[in-house]
C-alpha cells in the first residue's frame, strides 16, 4: 500500500516530463539525483544515528571508478556500473569495520578524514584522475535493451527509475528485521548488544548500504554533469546531504526526498543567487535542528493526519 502511494508520484512525474521545458527537466533530474544521495545519507543518519561526513568520498569513488573504466579501459556504462558499485561497497565495508568500533565523536572525525583522503588522492593522482582539473566530456550511458540515453528526457527517466527502485528497496529494508536492528542499535547500543543484536555487523551493513545508495547516485552523477572534479566531493557535499536529511526529516523515507526538493528545486525556482545559497543551507540546518527536530516530514504529518481523519469522518457522516 505504502509503496503504491510512492510509485504514483513517480508515474505522475514520468507522464508530466515530456511536456516540460529542457531547463525544467534538468532541474527535476538534479532534484531526483540529490534525492538518491540524500536517501543514502538518510539511511546512516536517520536509521543508524551516525553522521557520515565521508559519504561524499563514497560517491566520488563510484563516480570516478565508473568513469575511468569507461574512458581508460573502454568499458560500457553498464559493464562499469557493477564494478564501481562493488568497489564502493568494498571500501565502505573495510572503512566501516575499522571505524564502527569507535564511539561518539571519533566516528564523525574519522569519516571526515576518510572523505578528505579520497578527495586528496583524486586531486593529486594527476596521471589517473587529471587532478583538480578533473575529467571532462563524460558521455551519456550507452544504449541498452533498445533504450537510448542521449536526450535529457531519457536520462531523466533513468534517474527516476533508479530513485523509485531505491525507495522501494529502502522501504523493504527499514521494515525488515535488519531495519529494526539498525534502529535498536541507534536507540540504545548497550541494550541492543545485551539483547544479542550483532552491533558491529549491523552498523557495518548500515554504512555499506548507505554507501551503496550514494554510489548509485555517483554513477548517475558523472554522465549527468558530464564533468567530474575533486572539488565536487568536499566535506561540503556531504554536509549538503546532511542538511537535506535533517530539514526533510531524519528517520523517514519521505524526509530526505522532501529535503532535496526543498533545497535543490525551490532555491533554483526562486533563483536565489549562488552566494546566498550556503547561508540559506546553514541557517536552515541551525533552525531545523533547534525548532523542528523531526524535519518537514514530521512537521506536516500531524496536519496531514488531521486532514485525512477529518475527511474520513465527513465521508462517514454522509
Amino acid at each position: 500500500m505504502k509503496s503504491i502511494s510512492l510509485i504514483l508520484p513517480a508515474i505522475f512525474l514520468g507522464l508530466l516530463a515530456p511536456t516540460l521545458s529542457e531547463y525544467q527537466i534538468y532541474l527535476l533530474s538534479l532534484t531526483l539525483l540529490w534525492s538518491i544521495l540524500a536517501l543514502g545519507m538518510g539511511l546512516i543518519l536517520g536509521y543508524a544515528g551516525e553522521v557520515n561526513f565521508g559519504q561524499a568520498g563514497f560517491v566520488a569513488i563510484s563516480a570516478y571508478v565508473s568513469t575511468l573504466l569507461r574512458t581508460k579501459l573502454g568499458f560500457s556504462f553498464w559493464e562499469a556500473a557493477p564494478i564501481a558499485l562493488a568497489t564502493t561497497v568494498g571500501c565502505a565495508a573495510i572503512v566501516g569495520s575499522i571505524t564502527m568500533r569507535l564511539r561518539g565523536p571519533f566516528f564523525v572525525l574519522v569519516m571526515l578524514a576518510f572523505g578528505e583522503i579520497v578527495r586528496l588522492i583524486l586531486s593529486n593522482w594527476q596521471s589517473m584522475t587529471n587532478g583538480p582539473l578533473g575529467l571532462r566530456q563524460i558521455a551519456p550511458p550507452e544504449p541498452i535493451f533498445g533504450m537510448n540515453f542521449q536526450s535529457k528526457l531519457s536520462f531523466f527517466y533513468l534517474i527516476l527509475a533508479v530513485l523509485t527502485l531505491v525507495i522501494i528497496a529502502m522501504i523493504r529494508l527499514v521494515n525488515s528485521r535488519m531495519g529494526r536492528v539498525f534502529v535498536a542499535a541507534r536507540e540504545d547500543e548497550l541494550l541492543a548488544e545485551f539483547l544479542g543484536v550483532p552491533l558491529m555487523k549491523s552498523k557495518v551493513i548500515a554504512l555499506s548500504t548507505g554507501a551503496f545508495v550514494g554510489a548509485l547516485g555517483g554513477l548517475l552523477l558523472a554522465p549527468f554533469l558530464t564533468v567530474l572534479s575533486p572539488s565536487q566531493f568536499s566535506m561540503f557535499a556531504a554536509v549538503d546531504m546532511v542538511v537535506m536529511v535533517i530539514v526533510g526529516g531524519a528517520g523517514t523515507i519521505v524526509g530526505p526526498i522532501m529535503g532535496a526538493i526543498f533545497l535543490v528545486y525551490v532555491p533554483e525556482l526562486l533563483s536565489f543567487s549562488h552566494e546566498i545559497r550556503p547561508i540559506l543551507m546553514g541557517t536552515l540546518l541551525i533552525l531545523a535542528t533547534m525548532f523542528i527536530p523531526s524535519g518537514l516530514a514530521g512537521f506536516f504529518t500531524p496536519y496531514i493526519d488531521r486532514f485525512i481523519s477529518r475527511w474520513k469522518t465527513k465521508k462517514a457522516s454522509l
Binding site: G49, V51, I98, R101, L102, R103, G104, P105, F106, V108, L109, V110, L112, A113, F114, E116, I117, L120, I121, N124, F236, V239, V242, V243, I246, E275, I276, P278, I279, M281, G282, T283, L284, L285, I286, T289, M290, P293
Partner: protein, 285 residues
C-alpha cells in the same frame, strides 16, 4: 638538511598545536565538537587585519584587541546557536555548529571577498643556528604558542575559574550540584577558545595568507591532533600538534609533498585502531 627540516616541523607543529588548543579545551569543558572553529580562526585573522588597518597600529597591538572581539563573538555564537541545544543530543550540537560553519564561511566571502591578503607582522630578518635558518616571524609563532600555553596552564591550575572549568569538564552534573553556574563556565570556555582561535588565525594569516578559505585546513588538522592527543586533553594537543608537524614535514620532503596530508590522516587512523581513545587518552575515557 635534516636539521632544517626539524626546525621547520617545530614551527609548523607549534602552529598546529595552537590551532588545536582552543578546540580541545572546548571539547573538554563543554563536550562540544565545534565545527565552526576553523571559521572562527579565519575571522580572527580578518579581525586582526581590520584592526591594524582601522586603528593604524602594528600587528602586536592589534592582536590582543582582536582576541577580545573574537572572544565576545565566540560567546555570542554560543548563546544564539549552541546553548539552545546544549541539553539535546551530541548530534544536535554537531549539526548546529556545522550550520554556523556554513554561515560564517559565506559571510566572510561576502564581507572580504575571496582574494588572499597579506598581513605584515612588521618584523623581518632571520636567525641562524649553524646550518639552520629560522625567520623571526616563525620564531614568534613558536614563542606565542609557548606563551599562550603557559597562560592557559596558569589559568587552569591557579585561578578559581580554572578550577571551575576543570570541575565542569570532569562532571557537569556534579559541578551543577555544588552550585557552579555551568552556563557561565561554558560561556567562559567559549571566550577562551575564541581568543585562542584568534591568535592561531592571526599567526597563520601573517605567515601564509589571510583568506576566507583558510579555516578548512586548521580545522582538519585540529581534528587529527586532538584524536592523537586525546579529545579534551590540553597537554595532548601540544604533543599531537608537534607530532603532526614533524610527520608532515618529513613525509612532505622525503616521500611525497602532494600526499603529505594523506599520510597525516593515515597516521591518525592507525593510531585510532591501536588506541581508540587517542595516544595519550585513558583506556576508559
Amino acid at each position: 638538511m635534516l636539521e632544517q627540516q626539524i626546525a621547520n616541523s617545530l614551527v609548523l607543529g607549534s602552529i598546529y598545536a595552537l590551532c588545536a588548543l582552543g578546540f580541545t579545551l572546548l571539547f573538554g569543558v563543554a563536550k562540544i565538537i565545534n565545527f565552526a572553529y576553523g571559521e572562527l580562526l579565519m575571522f580572527g585573522a580578518f579581525f586582526t587585519l581590520t584592526a591594524m588597518n582601522f586603528m593604524k597600529v602594528g600587528f602586536f597591538l592589534a592582536l590582543p584587541f582582536a582576541m577580545l572581539i573574537l572572544a565576545a563573538f565566540s560567546v555570542l555564537i554560543y548563546l544564539v546557536t549552541i546553548r539552545p541545544v546544549l541539553r539535546g543530543t551530541p548530534l544536535q550540537s554537531l549539526l548546529v555548529t556545522t550550520g554556523v560553519l556554513y554561515v560564517l564561511h559565506e559571510l566572510a566571502i561576502i564581507i572580504w571577498g575571496t582574494e588572499p591578503r597579506q598581513m605584515d607582522m612588521g618584523i623581518e630578518g632571520a636567525i641562524e643556528f649553524g646550518a639552520v635558518i629560522v625567520t623571526y616571524p616563525r620564531l614568534i609563532a613558536i614563542g606565542t604558542m609557548l606563551l599562550l600555553v603557559l597562560i592557559l596552564y596558569w589559568m587552569l591550575y591557579k585561578l578559581r575559574i580554572g578550577k571551575a572549568l576543570r570541575a565542569v569538564a570532569q562532571n557537569r552534573a556534579g559541578a551543577e550540584a555544588i552550585g557552579l553556574n555551568v552556563n557561565r563556565v561554558i560561556c567562559f570556555a567559549f571566550a577562551v577558545s575564541g581568543a585562542m582561535a584568534c591568535a592561531a588565525g592571526a599567526l597563520i594569516g601573517a605567515l601564509y595568507a589571510t583568506e576566507p578559505s583558510m579555516g578548512g585546513a586548521p580545522l582538519l588538522k585540529s581534528f587529527v591532533i586532538v584524536i592523537l592527543g586525546g579529545l579534551g586533553n590540553v597537554f595532548g594537543a601540544i604533543v599531537g600538534g608537534l607530532l603532526i608537524g614533524i610527520a608532515e614535514t618529513l613525509t612532505g620532503s622525503y616521500i611525497s609533498y602532494a600526499f603529505k596530508d594523506v599520510f597525516t590522516f593515515l597516521i591518525m587512523i592507525f593510531a585510532l585502531i591501536l588506541r581508540p581513545n587517542g595516544l595519550l587518552g585513558g583506556r576508559n575515557q
